[in-house]
Amino acid sequence: MKRRSWLGQLGLVLPFLIPVVLFSVIPLLRGIYLGFTDYRFGFEMRFNGLENYRYMLTDSYFWSSFRVGAIWTIGTTLGQVVLGLGLAQLLNADLFGQRLARILVLVPWAMPPVIRGLMWNMVFLPDTSGPLNYLLMQAGMISQPINWLNSVAWALPSIILVGIWGGLPQSAIVLLAGLQTIPKELYEAASLDGAGVLGQFRYVTLPSLKPIITSIVSLRFMWNFNAFGLVWTLTQGGPGGRTRLPMLFAYEEGFRYGNAGYAAALGNVMVLVVSLLVVLYLRKELKESEA
């Protein structure tokens, strides 16, 4: 009987497993291997050990793209989760305009990243026909229009803003669902013990949401680090590589210059960096929840 159910399961799972193994698991393993070769599209492939990584250490483009990637990932993840938590609180309170806000949070989420980028291009227009420049000048905060996406100083902060805008809603909705599962009695008990609004947030809300926050931060971190389409449409990595995230760099190496082996090596380093950081973060969170 046990044997039969095992076979029955295999029969149902097989149509799922075969394509996943053929077109996902095997290519992925092969991709990891390619990172240890000098493969170029259309040429013979030769195993070259750690040669790609030795070259990477001297490649200033590599260092700058990972630095940009780190700033982008930390900035967007932090913004998405912290502001998401704030918005979730507001959506959970009894406020005017809440229904509208609950519909609006769906908009950035539902949009293809490419369109998010194109849309913000219109907000960021470099002269005064762009609404951002016009409003800031009217308010007297800047004296002349800024070319946001082409400025060495402003390009990265600008795309981080757009990244936060795009990811904030999803975080907020998931956190809101978490907030709604916290029993009201907990807040009443805390308030009887003399906790104010901040105290309730710190001793009731945060601990209750901890598992959700942990998983959102980890997922967001991975997704943001591997982002592509949004930044591609906003800046294509410019100006001068100031917004060239690791994925954009690897794409250019692989599909513009044909250095497939090096691009795969970059992919390997990306996996290594992300998994290391996520593991460190999860370990810290687990330790804290045990303490």
Binding site: Q9, L28, G31, F41, A93, A177
Partner: protein, 280 residues
């Protein structure tokens, strides 16, 4: 008394914050809508206005006059529908089997779902590109449907599992006792109960294909075959700047399907994410 004043103040602060969020979230979309309805002189005016003075549908007409936009919409729609159908056909039985029979396969599949989130798509696309080229499937819709299917399968399986888990096993046992065979239990009890979950998962797969950009950029080269996001991405930089009106109109048209789907999907998506997040 003091407490009430404090409460009122806290509430006003929160109200202002919510207003700020609403403006932040809505403004870019409202601005794009406004751009799509403005005649050109108003779009490039040095003193921009939010409300078009002389609203016009010219840009929508121009956008729909573009053969490439129409074929982009058609291609995206076709690829989205076909890939989500394939995803459902292979995922629904698998999700059922994984929940109902706990064996060694479960752990490896679940581990794969988690691990696959880690990998950047660059790592999979290079070998996949070579593989598909050898099969003569680059620059073809079959190839991209295949890629989208395996790419969205992990999350859809994750969602479907929580829907299967929600069906009490006692229902199935009762049907067995009443003399149903396995096939009847599946078709008369399990399947009807799974329909909402299947709809939500299918819509999710459709939206991820509709929104996807990277694989399509690499795999589809002919303008005639390309998807909507790849078509629209050509209007970045100076090319888009000169045609902002039609671009805004096209973007709005491309957003509407996902927006409609997400309004339906919201609850299912959240519960799918939550079931992963809360039970660790």
């Amino acid at each position: 008394m003091n407490y009430r004043v404090k409460n009122l103040m806290a509430k006003s602060v929160m109200q202002i914050c919510l207003l700020f969020f609403v403006v932040f979230l809505a403004f870019p979309l409202v601005w794009m809508l406004s751009t799509s309805l403005k005649p050109n002189p108003e779009i490039y005016s040095r003193i921009p206005t939010l409300i078009p003075k002389e609203p016009t549908f010219d840009h929508f007409r121009a956008a729909f006059g573009q053969q490439d936009l129409l074929s982009g919409i058609y291609n995206s729609f076709k690829i989205g529908v076909l890939s989500s159908i394939v995803v459902l056909i292979i995922t629904v039985p698998a999700a059922y089997a994984l929940v109902r029979f706990q064996t060694v396969i479960n752990k490896s599949v679940m581990a794969w779902i988690l691990v696959s989130q880690l990998f950047p798509s660059i790592l999979i696309i290079i070998p996949l590109f070579v593989l598909l080229r050898n099969l003569a499937l680059t620059n073809s819709h079959i190839g991209i449907i295949l890629v989208y299917t395996v790419w969205s399968v992990p999350f859809v399986l994750w969602m479907m599992r929580s829907y299967v888990k929600a069906i009490p096993i006692e229902l199935e046992e009762a049907a067995f006792i009443d003399g149903c065979n396995r096939l009847q239990v599946l078709s008369k009890i399990v399947f009807p109960l799974l329909v909402p979950g299947i709809v939500a998962s299918g819509l999710f797969a459709f939206v991820s294909a509709w929104n996807e950009f990277f694989f399509a950029l690499v795999l589809l080269k002919t303008p005639k075959l390309t998807t909507l996001p790849v078509y629209l991405s050509r209007f970045t930089g100076s090319e888009g700047m000169t045609r902002l009106g039609p671009l805004a109109a096209s973007c709005l048209v491309a957003t509407i399907p996902t927006l409609v789907v997400f309004t339906f999907l919201q609850k299912g998506l959240v519960s799918g994410l939550m079931s992963g997040a809360v039970k660790q």
